[in-house]
C-alpha cells in the first residue's frame, strides 16, 4: 500500500464520521416555516403609535399555509374603519400576491417591509442575501438576525400605512 493510499484511508476514517456527527449536532439552518412565525411585540407596539391595535389572527385564502394579523383603529374618534393586515413571510415570494386580497377583499395598497425597508415587490434578493449571512452567523456561533419579510396590506383608503416610519423597525 502506498503512503498516499494510507493517508487517504486515514483521512476518510477520521474526517468522514466526524463530518456526519457535525451534521447531527450542528445548528438547524432551516428557517421558520410560515405557520411558525409570530408577529413580534415590537411591531404591535410600532403600529400602536398610529392608533392601530391588534384585532385578530386570520388564516389566508390558502388555508393553513400563511397567517395574517389584523390591526384596526379602535379609538373613539376614528373617522373611518382602518384595517391593516400584516403577514409574516419567512420563505420566499410565494405569498406575495395573497396580500392583494387578504380575506377576499381587494387591498387599497400593499407593500413589503424587510428590516425597515419598504418595497413594492417582495425583496427576493435582499431576503436571500440576509439568509446567506444568517447561515454564516449560525456557523460562527452567532445568533441569526431576523429575516422575515412583513407583507402589509390596507383595505381602507383612509389609512396609508406606506407613510408610516417603517425605518424604526430593525427586524
Amino acid at each position: 500500500m502506498s503512503s498516499n493510499a494510507r493517508m487517504a484511508m486515514v483521512l476518510v476514517l477520521l474526517l468522514g464520521p466526524l463530518s456526519l456527527l457535525m451534521k447531527l449536532w450542528g445548528p438547524n439552518q432551516y428557517g421558520p416555516v410560515p405557520t411558525q412565525v409570530q408577529i413580534p411585540a415590537a411591531l404591535t407596539d410600532f403600529l400602536s403609535q398610529y392608533n392601530l391595535t391588534f384585532f385578530s389572527n386570520l388564516h389566508t385564502i390558502n388555508a393553513q399555509a400563511y397567517q395574517m394579523a389584523l390591526y384596526h383603529d379602535a379609538s373613539e374618534d376614528a373617522t373611518c374603519l382602518a384595517m391593516i393586515y400584516v403577514m409574516p413571510m419567512p420563505i420566499n415570494a410565494e405569498a406575495e400576491f395573497i396580500l392583494a386580497r387578504p380575506v377576499g377583499v381587494a387591498s387599497v395598497d400593499f407593500f413589503y417591509v424587510h428590516r425597515g425597508n419598504v418595497t413594492n415587490r417582495y425583496p427576493s434578493t435582499s431576503h436571500w442575501y440576509a439568509g446567506v449571512i444568517n447561515r454564516v452567523r449560525l456557523l460562527a456561533g452567532l445568533s441569526p438576525v431576523s429575516n422575515i419579510v412583513y407583507g402589509i396590506a390596507s383595505t381602507s383608503p383612509c389609512v396609508t400605512p406606506r407613510d408610516f416610519d417603517w425605518s424604526q423597525l430593525s427586524f
Binding site: M1, L11, V12, M22, N92, E94, W128
Partner: protein
C-alpha cells in the same frame, strides 16, 4: 487498498459527501413526518437524486486501468472532507460538486467514469442552483404556472384569469400556487433523471435524445398544469388531488412519463448504433 485504489478513494469521498448533503433533509423529514411516514416518502429524498447518485458511483467504479491514489488526490480530498465538516447540506452539495469538478480534470478517465463525473456535477450543483433560482425568481416562476393553469381552466369555465400566482374566478381566488407545486421544482428532478439515464448509457447526445429531453420537460409541465387546473376546479377535487390517492397517482404518472420519454430516446440511439455495426458499447468521449 491495493494498486488501483484511486477510484475507491474517490467513491469514499463521494459517498461521504452525498451522505452529508442528504443527512439534514432526511432528519428534517423524519422530524416533520415521523419515521414511518418519512420512510414512505423516501425520507424526503427525490428518487431522481438517488438514481443519479447511484448511477454516478457505479460508473466511476468501472475502471480499466488500475491507478494509485496521487498526492493531489489526498490534498483535494482533505480540502473537500474539511468542507464536509461544515454542518450545511447546501455547502456539502457545493463541495461535492467541486470535487466532481476536480475529478473531471483528471487524465486517464474511462468514458464511463467521465459520464459518472458529469452526472455527479449536475446532481451536486442542482440543489444550490435551484434553491437560488427559486428564491430569486419565485414570483415569475409561480406566475408562469398560474397563467398556464388559468389558460387551461378558461377553456372550460368563464371568468378565469391569473393574478401573480393566484388563479382567480372573477374576484374570487380559486387557487394559490405555492413553491412546492411549481413546475420548475418537478422539472429539475425530471431532467436530472433524464440526463443521468441518457449519459450513463450513451455518451453522445443525438437529436432524438435531446427531443426526448424536450418531451420530458413539456410533459412534466403540462401534467403539472393539468393537476393544478383540476385542483382549482373545485374544493372536492382539490382535496383528492392535493392529498392522498391523487397525489400518488400524479407522482406515478410523472414518473411513467419521464421514464417513457427517456427510454424512447435511449432506445432510438442504441438501435441506430446497432444499425451502424458499432455495438452498444461504442462510445465517444
Amino acid at each position: 487498498m491495493v494498486k488501483g485504489d484511486r477510484s475507491y478513494f474517490w467513491i469514499a469521498v463521494i459517498l461521504l459527501g452525498a451522505t452529508n448533503a442528504l443527512m439534514r433533509p432526511v432528519i428534517a423529514s423524519m422530524e416533520d413526518l415521523g419515521f414511518w411516514n418519512s420512510a414512505f416518502d423516501a425520507f424526503g429524498i427525490n428518487p431522481a437524486v438517488m438514481a443519479a447518485l447511484l448511477l454516478s458511483v457505479g460508473l466511476i467504479l468501472t475502471q480499466e486501468d488500475a491507478q494509485s491514489t496521487s498526492r493531489a488526490d489526498v490534498w483535494v480530498g482533505l480540502f473537500v472532507l474539511i468542507g464536509f465538516l461544515i454542518p450545511s447540506a447546501t455547502l456539502s452539495w457545493i463541495f461535492l460538486g467541486l470535487y466532481a469538478g476536480y475529478l473531471a480534470l483528471q487524465k486517464g478517465l474511462t468514458t464511463e467514469q467521465r459520464a459518472g463525473v458529469a452526472i455527479l456535477i449536475l446532481t451536486s450543483f442542482r440543489q444550490p442552483i435551484m434553491g437560488f433560482l427559486i428564491h430569486i425568481f419565485n414570483a415569475p416562476i409561480l406566475s408562469f404556472d398560474a397563467a398556464l393553469t388559468a389558460w387551461l381552466l378558461s377553456s372550460f369555465e368563464t371568468g378565469i384569469h391569473a393574478e401573480g400566482n393566484l388563479v382567480m374566478s372573477g374576484d374570487k381566488v380559486r387557487l394559490v400556487i405555492l413553491t412546492s407545486c411549481s413546475s420548475l421544482a418537478n422539472l429539475s428532478f425530471a431532467l436530472l433523471f433524464w440526463y443521468a439515464a441518457c449519459r450513463s448509457l450513451v455518451s453522445h447526445f443525438t437529436r432524438t435524445m435531446l427531443l426526448s429531453g424536450v418531451g420530458v420537460a413539456v410533459s412534466i409541465v403540462f401534467l403539472n398544469i393539468i393537476r393544478l387546473a383540476m385542483m382549482a376546479s373545485s374544493s372536492e377535487r382539490y382535496a383528492v388531488i392535493h392529498e392522498t390517492a391523487g397525489k400518488t397517482v400524479f407522482a406515478l404518472l410523472m414518473l411513467l412519463l419521464v421514464v417513457s420519454f427517456t427510454y424512447w430516446g435511449i432506445r432510438n440511439v442504441i438501435q441506430r448504433t446497432h444499425g451502424d455495426g458499432l455495438g452498444p458499447t461504442a462510445r465517444t468521449a
